[in-house]
Symmetry: C2
Subunit: 413 residues, 2 copies
């Protein structure tokens, strides 16, 4: 008699984005005319084409795959040396951060890695997440059996929720409880907040003191515009001893549909066995990748490598400038509509307080029905997100401007 | 204090193929001249370029990604409808097998899926694997905590090993024990054996009777040459109620470095909750993919789709014919060298008994040192593989012929 994993039954209805897609599809079926006008500011998906440097590199790699002499079969599960080196050099060593090529593990997505990292961690850890939170951190812990059931607000028993709100600038305070694993995401998805060097220094100190591990999701680091905001957790001394960093090409290179990301596991990062011995996690992650993964498509890795060329860097900068231009327009529109606005300065997300008495999902439905704009309800990210909604700046300029116009009109209606 | 997953510490030294790579690299460093002559018949990696139909489709998809109007961001985590449909129609419905498009889950590799499938299964299942066995089935169960420690032969406490040997034609006998999850792989990696319709019918009957689930790995189905050997477990009535099938484009389309595969989870497949309720696994796998995965690169999915065009099918047939031509040459060489040979008729692997008294790894080292041929030691696949080695037919014709010549000479030496 085969057993299923009962933990899955604890999961609450649909992962946020499929639920949004379901409501939008339903709306479109019911309102075929309005459907044509919909502007999607919901899921954080890029809209602009891949940089031409990437396109050129992809074509070249495809040609290599069509030729016996230059064909590539199985690659290293951890990623090709050419890409691991480009990453470690450009994103870390050129910024004075000591990360070796073989501490970089190339993968097909940060979402995958954020989930898979639990494979190498024990089941006895106390897990802390921010609230609001990127749902993947929570749901993957539920699946792994690290929680009890969800309460009426969607919070799971056994997880430590760190509230992020306007009072603390959406940066989690150091908890009084002892957490063993802490998920931090800066620039933050969904709030667009960033953590300062001081704040991250306190987190690293907490982790070192408690022998905790920080799972640092920096998927949006390319959007940081303010000076002295750390782009990497490894800018904080001691982080090599307590942090794993996740980064992605989805949001800088526009790879959401092309799929490439990476995870940094320093060799100096240790964790305890059940009998108290300290061992490095690097060989465990390496073994996990060797056994349960086969590496990213050669073609895609060559595309990602092109992001580090001079041309590629310029094109990424232009993409970021484009999306952050949208963010400024949408921020201003919300302000003009008398809405309270956060984020959108160091991240492509604007975090907006709903008018008094309006819930996040009600606001979602109103924006969909009345302005034909898809946003993301804040409560979908956790109970501390209730009373907020997220606007994504990923769009064409024309649509961002049209969305801004509708937001202003909507406020007046 | 963060805990690691202690189960990883039970894993025995390096996953087989990295260990082979280590020995080969060492040999090459020590013997730079001989290194130039090495013929790799070890890891089952394709050598021929991607079919031209795939190359054309990949280029077209790359161009789409470079254009705002045809750009693709996040795709469905389960795979694009165009590919799910092509698979379900061509591989199943056209053969009279009732598989719906949305029972197909596209992924980046069968190795990944074979490991990930454990995510949705409980920890209380009794797991059976064949011996010799593709190491991923075992190692992923060790990582998930489903086993005790390994004994001196590398067999893990708590797993049910089903010996496959010359006596049973390398097809596992139905066990006397009650297993809940059974991994079956036909055409078999490593032995090249196939299961007949009768044998698979007995396995399905066993599964239905015991409410067990068959994890059927059919990555090599394209190599079946004998009529009436089932290509899919779903050719057996009742399999929709007891089997998950894994298939890959790695070995038919040459996608080992391009990365695309799929898993079939019928909606009629149920498993038990801990309190005995029966529930379908399809929504669990769907949730797993939505939460822990982001789908295969759009570009790669378009490439895989091209394998189902008339041109693509012809080109795949030509690839299979090429590799199976190599297999025939290598089989004959081994026979001429008075070695006892299995497989190589419905699979690109030849399974060879070592000369009396020679262990698998000794044979590996002898073949490497004396014939400069890399094979795979049978014992790397489990204790029942001791006394055998595997020769892969994935090679150019010229190298297969040269390997055949050396095998004959080696036997005489």
């Amino acid at each position: 008699m085969a057993f299923l994993n009962d933990n899955y039954l604890k999961l609450r209805a649909g992962y946020l984005f499929p639920e949004i897609a379901r409501r939008v599809n339903f709306f479109c079926e019911q309102n075929p005319e309005a459907a044509k006008k919909i502007i999607r500011c919901g899921i954080g998906d890029v809209t602009e084409p891949l940089p031409s440097a990437v396109i050129t590199a992809l074509h070249k790699a495809v040609d290599e795959m069509g030729n016996r002499e230059t064909f590539h079969g199985y690659g290293p599960e951890q990623g090709y040396e050419f890409l691991r080196h480009a990453i470690a050099k450009n994103d870390y060593r050129d910024h004075g951060l000591e990360i070796a090529d073989d501490e970089i593990f190339v993968s097909d997505g940060s979402k995958c890695d954020c989930g898979s990292i639990l494979d190498i961690l024990g089941h006895d850890n106390f897990i802390a997440v921010m609230d609001p939170v990127y749902p993947v951190y929570v749901d993957t812990n539920v699946m792994a059996g690290h929680t009890g059931s969800a309460n009426e607000f969607g919070a799971y028993e056994g997880l430590i929720y760190l509230p992020c709100n306007a009072e603390n600038g959406f940066v989690a305070d150091i908890p009084k409880e002892k957490a063993d694993i802490v998920y931090l995401c800066y620039p933050n998805n969904p709030t667009g907040a960033v953590a300062t060097r001081d704040q991250l220094t306190r987190w690293v100190a907490y982790a070192l003191q408690n022998e905790a591990i920080l799972l640092y999701d920096a998927a949006y680091e390319a959007y940081i515009s303010e000076p002295d905001i750390p782009h990497s957790i490894y800018e904080i001394p001691g982080a090599r001893e307590c942090a794993i960093e996740f980064r992605s090409f989805s949001k800088n290179g526009g790879f959401t549909g092309t799929r490439c990301a990476f995870t940094v596991v320093p060799k100096t990062l240790l964790a305890r066995t059940l009998n108290g011995e300290k061992k490095p996690l690097h060989p465990l992650w390496n073994r996990r990748m060797s056994t349960k993964y086969n590496g990213v498509s050669y073609i895609v890795q060559r595309g990602a490598e092109a992001l580090y060329t001079t041309e590629g860097k310029e094109q990424v900068a232009a993409l970021i400038k484009h999306y952050m231009g949208n963010a400024a327009i949408l921020r201003e529109a919300c302000k003009a509509a008398d809405l309270e606005v956060f984020g959108g300065v160091n991240a492509p997300y604007i975090w907006v307080r709903t008018p008094a008495g309006v819930s996040s999902w009600d606001m979602f439905d109103m924006m969909l029905n009345e302005a034909n704009i898809v946003v993301t309800p804040g409560s979908g990210f956790g109970s501390a997100g209730e009373g907020y909604f997220r606007i994504s700046a990923f769009n064409s300029r024309a649509r961002a401007e049209e969305a801004a116009t509708r937001i202003k009109a909507f406020a007046l209606a």
